[in-house]
Structures are given as C-alpha cells and as structure tokens.
C-alpha cells in the first residue's frame, strides 16, 4: 500500500517537473526569438546610418544651400545611433525617417539631383532599408507579443516571476497613421 502511494507521489512530482521544465524552456525560446528579432532591427538601422553620409554628400553637390535640411538629417542620424532603450530609439528613428523624407521631398525642386544615378540608387537603397526596418519592427513586435503573452498568462507567468522574465516593450510608432503596412513603391 505504502509503495503504491509512493509511486503515485513520484509520478506526480515527475509530471510536475516535466511541465515546469517545458514552460521554462518555452519562455527561454520565446525570449531568444525576441532578442534575435531585436538585433535584426539593429542591423537594419545600422545599414541606414551607413547610407546617410553618402546621401548627404550627394545632395550637397546639387543643393548646397539647403544646409538646414542636411544638418537636420545628420543630427537626427547621430541622435538615433546614440539612443538607447526601445522607446527612445523608436522616437529618434521616427525623427530620422521624417528628416529623410524631407530630403527626398527637396529633391523634387532639383531636377539634376533627381536625375543623378547615384542619388536614385541611394533612394532605392534607403527606401528598401526602410521597408526592412518596418518589417523587422513588425517581426520584433510579433515575437514580443508572443513572449509577453507567455510572461503574463497563467501558468507560465509563475515561472516567469520566479526566474525574472520581464515583459518587453513594443517598438511603437508615434503617429497612428504610420502604423499601416510598409510602403510599397511602384
């Protein structure tokens, strides 16, 4: 009789342990995916930083007296690359996107600049990188939603609390109008 009780207890403990390990591993896996998604955003942002000096140099050749716009882009770039934390970074990046848009709007007034092959290539590369950033952000937010779901819901929230799994911030856009599907160029 005693041995049967013992076996039952052992089995229950074993099952409980397996469930706990499974939940823990699930949390770790989801956290890794979120971190990977975040580093992908960084890769894409870095790529945009690298393109900007090139762009500014090209534009300078055609529109030197648009100094204010060019300086705003450089300033936004530097602010964005030194920003830390999800919310701050998102805000700085939005500033940069706005500044870049101004440069491209400005090119409308300079037909020579617009016709410049180098400029066109940069424009395609930057809009491609912006699509990449948008998609990377989307992927990050999706991964973070899954991870946060696991952190905040029963029963995995107990494990999360025990081992210090903190919910992650979303990479939000300020203007709700910008939250649409990534822009597609025809």
């Amino acid at each position: 009789m005693l041995s049967i009780t013992l076996i039952i207890i052992v089995v229950i403990v074993a099952i409980a342990a397996a469930v706990l390990i499974g939940l823990y591993n699930g949390l770790v896996r989801k956290r890794i995916l979120t971190q990977e998604a975040w580093s992908q955003i960084d890769v894409q942002l870095k790529r945009r930083y690298d393109l900007i000096p090139n762009l500014v140099e090209t534009v300078k050749g055609y529109a030197a007296h648009e100094k204010g716009t060019l300086e705003a882009v450089i300033a936004a770039r530097n602010a964005a690359s030194s920003a830390t934390g999800v919310a701050e970074k998102a805000q700085a990046e939005n500033m940069l996107t706005g500044a870049l848009r101004q440069i491209f709007a400005l090119s409308e007034a300079y037909p020579n600049l617009k016709a410049n092959e180098n400029f066109q290539q940069l424009q395609e590369e930057i809009s491609h990188t912006e699509n990449n950033i948008a998609f990377a952000r989307q992927h990050y937010n999706d991964s973070a939603a899954i991870y946060n779901g696991a952190v905040q819901t029963f029963p995995s929230n107990m494990i999360a609390g025990m081992f210090g799994f903190a919910a992650r911030e979303y990479f939000e856009l300020e203007a709700s109008g910008e939250r649409e599907a990534p822009k597609v160029k025809f």
């Binding site: 998609f135 989307q138 999706d142 779901g149």
Partner: protein, 312 residues
C-alpha cells in the same frame, strides 16, 4: 497578430513529422519489395534477406540524396538559374524584406526562363531554401504583387512545407521511375530468360510471384504519383496565402497577382507531375479547368481570392 505566429509552429512540427514518416515508408517499401524479389528469385529466406538489405541500403542512399540534393535536383529539373542581386535588385530587395519580416535567413533566388507565370520554393530547411520565379511572372507583376507572391513562397519556407514537398516530389518520383524500370526489365528480361533458360531454379512458382508483384507495382505506381498531389494538400496553399497576408499586412498584392495568374493561359513546360504541386498555381492548366477534383493539390484560384478578400 500573435495567433498565426503560434499556429505556424504546429505547422512546422507537422511537416517535420510527416517528413520522417515519409522517409520511413520509403525505406520500408524498398525493404519489403527487396525481400519479395530476393525470395522469389532465390527461393530461400536468406536470399530475400540479402536482397532486402541491399534494397534498404539503396533506399538509405536515395534518402540522403533526396534530403541533401533534392532541391538542386528540382531546380535543375525546372531549368532554374540562380541570380545575384545585380541581376535584379528589386526582386532581391523584395525577397530580403520578406525574409526580414519572417525572421528567416535570405533564401537563394532563381529565375526560370519561361513566359508562363509561376513560382515555387524548395529546400530542406529555411537555411537552405530557394525561391524560383518564372521570367513571365516577374515581368508582369508590380512590386506590391511581387511582394504578395514571394511572401506566399516564404510562408512555405517558414512552415517547412518545402522540406516535405521536396522529399515527396523526389522520393515518389524515384519510386515511380524504379517501378517503371522494374516492370520493363521484367517484361523484356522475362522473355529473354525463357529462351536461354539459364538459371530458372525457382521454377514456375517464382515466375508467378514476380508476375503478381509486377501487377501490384503497375497498379501502385500511378497511385503513388497521385498521392504526391493529394499529400501536398490544398490546406497548405490556403495557409501560405494567409501567411503571405500576415507577413505583408496586405492582401491586395497577392489578390491581384492571383488574378493575373488565373488569366494566364500558358502551360509551364518545365513542370511535370512530380513538381506540379510545388508551384503557387497548378502549372498544367488543364487540371485546373476541369472542375477541381478532390485529388487536386491546388484549390481553385477564385476561391483563394475570395478568402483573401475576406481577410481585408
């Protein structure tokens, strides 16, 4: 938004499990047929076992070849050539953007020189994946439509549909071919032996068993070909369409691309029965026109467009 990402994990698990089952069935089939042939020819159990071991080894080698070389085989069967970013920057950019969206490594990109409109993805896993698109489709799509189509293909990559579809196409293709070779050799070989009568130790019994086996294989081979189409079910296409919308957050691109695809009357010449299920739309149009049978791997395009519209 989080829901589809969670469900695709179960799709991945199912495809991986199905791939293992497929490999097991493939090997068992070889071993069983090998044993029967050996036993019929040699007349003893030992002979059967020897041939079964040989067939098992052959199946093992074929499995490895299909797993590691299947995608190259399928791509070269479709006369696809790999391109670099310089050849088509826009196509490359779109593929790269979507692989970022799906959190996948960048797949290789292939073009098929054919004016028919179609596309497919293959590979054993996302790290060894390839997407191929015909020049006809590439030229007729806008960037938005291209994005929808390639997102559909990348969903196949992400869901591991590519692994199962690749193994299915290659292995069943090999089986059908071997059945064919076996039947022919039996037909001609049987005639030759009767005249020379060199080592007919098994006597009439063995001949009858081989004949029955031949009959069974003659029936099994076409059924196997049909199984490829069935196993790569319509469900996968619907899921990949939904996955495309999930990645691009935009149903219109794929919708209008599918509309263009359904208007395309051309037959893709490089496609055959084994590779047909891989494509985004059935490359051999006659199958599609003839009111969709339950065997069709592809759902009717009109139905897919309707489902996409409901997602908007």
């Amino acid at each position: 938004m989080a829901q589809p990402l969670e469900t695709f994990r179960t799709l991945i698990d199912r495809n991986k499990r199905n791939s293992v089952i497929l490999i097991a069935v493939f090997m068992l089939f070889f071993i069983a047929v090998g044993y029967l042939i050996g036993w019929a020819w040699g007349g003893t159990d030992a002979f059967g076992v020897v041939v079964a071991v040989g067939a098992g080894t052959l199946a093992f080698i074929l499995t490895l070849a299909s797993y590691y070389g299947g995608s190259s085989a399928l791509l070269s069967m479709s006369s696809a050539r790999q391109i670099a970013k310089g050849d088509d920057p826009q196509l490359f950019n779109v593929v790269e953007e979507l692989s970022v969206a799906a959190g996948l490594p960048m797949p290789r990109v292939y073009l098929i020189d054919d004016s028919a409109m179609n596309a497919f993805a293959t590979g054993r896993d996302p790290a060894h994946a390839a997407v191929a698109i015909t020049t006809g489709l590439r030229e007729k799509l806008t960037r938005e439509e291209l994005q929808g189509v390639l997102a559909h293909e990348l969903s196949h990559v992400r869901n591991y549909d590519i692994r199962y579809a690749m193994l299915m196409a290659v292995m069943v293709g090999v089986l059908v071919m071997l059945c064919d070779v076996f039947l022919r050799s039996l037909w001609y070989g049987g005639r030759g032996r009767r005249r020379s009568d060199s080592r007919d130790s098994g006597g009439g019994g063995a001949q009858i068993i081989l004949l029955i086996l031949a009959l069974v294989l003659a029936i099994v081979a076409p059924i196997l070909a049909k199984i490829i189409e069935m196993a790569l079910s319509r469900q996968r296409e619907y899921m990949a369409d939904a996955g495309s919308v999930e990645l691009t957050r935009n149903a219109r691109g794929l919708e209008s691309a599918l509309a263009k695809l359904s208007d395309d009357p051309e037959v893709l010449e490089v496609a055959n029965r084994a590779t047909a299920p891989l494509y985004i739309v059935h490359p051999i149009k006659h199958f599609e026109d003839r009111a969709s049978s339950i065997f069709d791997s592809h759902p009717p395009i009109a139905d897919r467009i309707r489902r996409l519209q409901s997602l908007e």
